[in-house]
Subunit: 568 residues, 2 copies
């Protein structure tokens, strides 16, 4: 049956036929609450990207629907998020375009290319690309991005025009030296909104409180929006005090159209779109995993590539910009009782309703209110906990947090995350290139062998038993060669060398070369090399080479104990 | 004493005071033979770099002397080599300069910057940078470079002007389509020289034969040079038949002068110079190691950085170009009986003598003879053995050989070697990101635990004993999380999970996070996690974190046997 065949690819075929009536109240409530959160938030994020507010709303309808059909997470809510908005905004700013129509067409193209990138990654089953960044690097990256997003909102908060290409420090300097242009009314509106949002959030700081807070806490953004509109309209703050407002938003659903295709533009923005796709995937998968672990669901990284790819392409066709799974709104969805993706379908329908009927009421919404919502939302992303933990546990990991954090702040987002990945990988290679080598001996009366430096053990003067605590591969062959030769040169009594391979999971071609050479050199020095505790998969591969013949008089023992007994 | 303090940095202080008279004959003979090899070879390599022949001779005097003072290898001979010449030539060709004086000043600056790069690497103790390329990648790189070098000589061999920017295939095509311009006399001289050099080499193909071949084999290049000069001069081949000759070489030692410093030029060629430095270091260290292993000497990678840095800087000050340790001439030096670096000092003095007295005699040397010498010399670098071995042992390594080989041939040297490094590293990360996980049981009547799929072992239905055969780090946390949760979900009988850590050498911060989360999730599912056989250094670090508290009721056992006995 076709439906059976499609099931693995279209999760809705899995949950919809078995939908229970009892699941509806939770889905309905969650759908409504997320819509309340999402309407102001999506407009705010569009502002971060330097796009008109309705673009954020457009990016919240079809992508949400498509994800609910295809996604493997049952409760993740997809739409405009901080990171993607920041990256889109920085890419648009770099291109130096001021014409709104052109900005829109590039944003749409970015979503399209990001979507295709994700689908392409699905084809190549590259879901494992998420494995190339360490937690400290991801955390350093999002923390710095949160700060960049907050600073991008200074201009709306202070009501002055700050050039978006300025760095974080320069923005502060610029604000100070142009303090005479600050719009006091705007600033008051923004600060009051921030204070209100923080106060409402404060008892919700921990996970428990999110559940207890209920609708009141979650609708706080709606409260500041309504209050902001009310005061601005009543006291004509825009006309009399120059408060920047959202202004006219075209009513109605986004027009569905095929994105314009311009080859030179396409080539110019492709690298940026690919990076946006990878970062969005990274963010979404970590959100999805965090939610799944609470309900024992399974997240399939390759299915997520498909779902997010489709979401981004649908965003492009409906005049949106790149989207991903957002942590905040997904948590709201989850904790408001969402049981199935039906909640997201309800949210999407409500957003469509808002686009059709509510846009005239948003006219007087001060931009400073939206900025306040963003600043409070992204402040949760600044993750000092991870840094502190890494600092205690592993200084090198803490250093990679700091390096990524400052690189993103100072050099920029793209180079920053690239540098982070390079640091993660170099650090790992460096670690495994100087492996721990233990000289071991037998614990008296047992068959156990332990490090002679840490335990009181039996040894034989003519036997050197070495346990190499690392895979043998190109990055550590030189180190090991030198180390082993050094030990043999230092002690002329040694006649038998036992290499204990219990911690060796593979030996690559470079290491095989080096091992053969070392065995050869040791033979000339009168030392026979034996192996012990070689793992099954390693042995299978060694049998394919001439290595075992090269061992000569050396033997392969099942256990170190056997080797010690026979050679001792 | 100052000398005692300097000893580790200036190896000559080590060997000269203890020099024995019996060592002199070997050093003298080897010094003379290497000079005989080096005179034509160094001129030939200068041609590969697109520089006048005397530059090769200049690069063979001071660099050789400086290396003999500072190098940690006693028998390596430093000077112009194929790879460095090819890279220098490709960089000069890219810059599109035709003026010889300007070419010379850039070549000198390249040597200077390469030297400084090496000294800078010495300061940072980056000797371990050699660990970042696997043997198959290095071998794929040198094989492709050898082919590029051979094809760069086609123009001298056929006596037609082939644009050096053409690719390998295009060069063949160009030669065919311009076959009417081929200079038959030049081609005959070149081919005869190649045939002679190959015939002389053939019995020397294996290492034994090098010793047996003696002076005759080694002086074959000198024989073709002298014969070539004789015939060209006698029959006026240059004037009457248009055979391209070396022409006038300025007599005398190179003028010592400070290289001109041009900042914009400096910035332009720095990346190239850095790559040349790293590749030269790579080549030299593998030559030095190959020689050292035959006499149980020790090569110090950081000392080599110092010695090669000084050699390159001295090359710059004496009008040369980037140098490195050459495999061929070092083997000749070694097998001719060189005992100490005195052999190299003798070679350098003979080269200086040649520059002062012999240059007029080289006027009639056909360039095709030099090309023949190069083609035969570099053909030994095409290393199909490594490829075949890798193909049998590890297909992924064989694929990285092929990828690097074709990337260097088609895309170019710089990008090719970069791609090779990326492939090596990605391959390793990919391997360790999907580690082998074995479910183990006890071999009846013993304390040994083995894979249940490979051995007949005892198990308990409520205990799952897992041995993870890899370090836990960011690239494999996702995989392991999914794998372990999957096993628990599949078998509801399991109440105790023993993670056997005998193959785990470190756990990074990302993996610690993930492990804590997994333990938490398993606790909710009614499964207690225990650890067994945790290595000392890993345990030391875990004690610094909150991890052990997070284990809850789980315990840390010294051995899997203990865990099995207590929980069984």
């Amino acid at each position: 049956m076709l439906r059976q065949k499609l099931k693995p690819f279209i999760p809705i075929l899995e949950w919809l036929p078995t939908y229970k009536r009892a699941q509806l109240p939770g889905d309905l409530l969650a759908g409504i609450i997320v819509a309340i959160v999402l309407i102001p938030q999506s407009m705010a994020y569009a502002m971060v990207a330097g796009l008109p507010p309705q673009v954020g709303l457009y990016a919240s309808v079809l992508p949400l629907l498509f994800y609910s059909l295809l996604g493997s997470s049952r409760t993740m809510a997809v739409g405009p998020v901080g990171l993607m908005s920041l990256m889109t905004g920085s890419l648009l700013a770099e291109m130096g375009i001021n014409d709104t129509a052109q900005l829109l067409s590039i944003a749409v193209l970015l979503a399209l290319l990001s979507g295709f990138t994700l689908l392409f990654m699905r084809l190549l089953k590259l879901g494992s690309v998420i494995n190339f960044l360490s937690h400290p690097v991801i955390s350093g990256f999002t923390s710095a991005a949160a700060i960049l997003i907050m600073f991008s909102q200074l201009k709306h908060l202070f009501g002055i025009e700050i050039p978006s290409e300025l760095g974080v420090i320069e923005k502060i300097g610029f604000t100070f030296s142009n303090s005479d242009q600050i719009n006091a009314t705007t600033l008051v509106i923004g600060l009051l909104s921030i204070v209100f949002l923080i106060l409402i959030r404060s008892p919700l700081a921990n996970k428990l409180a999110i559940k207890a807070g209920g609708i009141l806490g979650k609708s706080a953004p709606l409260v500041v929006v309504v209050t902001g509109i009310f005061f601005t309209a009543t006291f004509q703050l825009a006309e009399s005090y120059g408060v920047a407002i959202v202004g006219a938003i075209p009513a109605g659903l986004p027009e569905l159209k095929i994105p314009a295709f311009d080859q030179s533009l396409w080539q110019q923005i492709l690298p940026g779109a690919m990076l946006i796709a990878v970062v969005g995937f990274l963010e979404s998968i970590s959100v999805a995993k965090a939610l799944a672990s609470r309900r024992r669901e399974k997240i399939d990284a390759n299915q997520e590539l498909l779902a997010l790819g489709a979401s981004n392409i649908s965003s492009a066709f409906s005049g949106g910009y790149p989207v991903a799974g957002g942590l905040g709104r997904s948590m709201v969805n989850f904790s408001s009782g969402a049981n199935t993706p039906l909640a997201s379908i309800i949210t999407a329908l409500l957003l469509a309703f808002a686009l059709i009927c509510l846009t005239p009421y948003l006219y007087n919404l001060p931009r400073a209110v939206l900025s306040a919502i963003i600043i409070v939302a992204v402040s949760a992303l600044i993750d000092l906990e991870t840094f502190k933990k890494a600092w205690r546990y592993d200084r090198a990991d803490a250093a990679s947090f700091l390096a990524t954090f400052f690189a993103v702040l100072i050099i920029g987002i793209e180079l920053g995350i690239l540098l982070g990945a390079i640091i993660s990988i170099s650090l790992y290679l460096h670690r495994s290139s100087q492996p721990h080598i233990a000289v071991v001996g037998r614990i008296a009366g047992s068959e156990h062998f332990r490090n002679i430096d840490r335990h009181d053990v039996e040894t034989h003067p003519h036997i050197l038993a070495l346990r190499i605590d690392e895979n043998l591969y190109f990055a550590n062959t030189n180190y090991l060669e030198d180390k082993i030769m050094g030990m043999i040169v230092d002690d002329s009594q040694i006649k038998e060398l036992i290499l204990i391979c219990s911690a060796i999971n593979f030996i690559d071609t470079s290491a095989l070369d080096s091992l053969e050479m070392t065995i050869d050199r040791l033979r000339n020095a009168g030392v026979t090399v034996h192996l012990a505790e070689v793992k099954g998969p390693v042995m299978d591969k060694l049998k394919k080479s001439h290595f075992l013949a090269q061992l000569g008089e050396g033997k392969v023992f099942l256990s170190t104990h056997d080797a010690f007994t026979e050679l001792g």
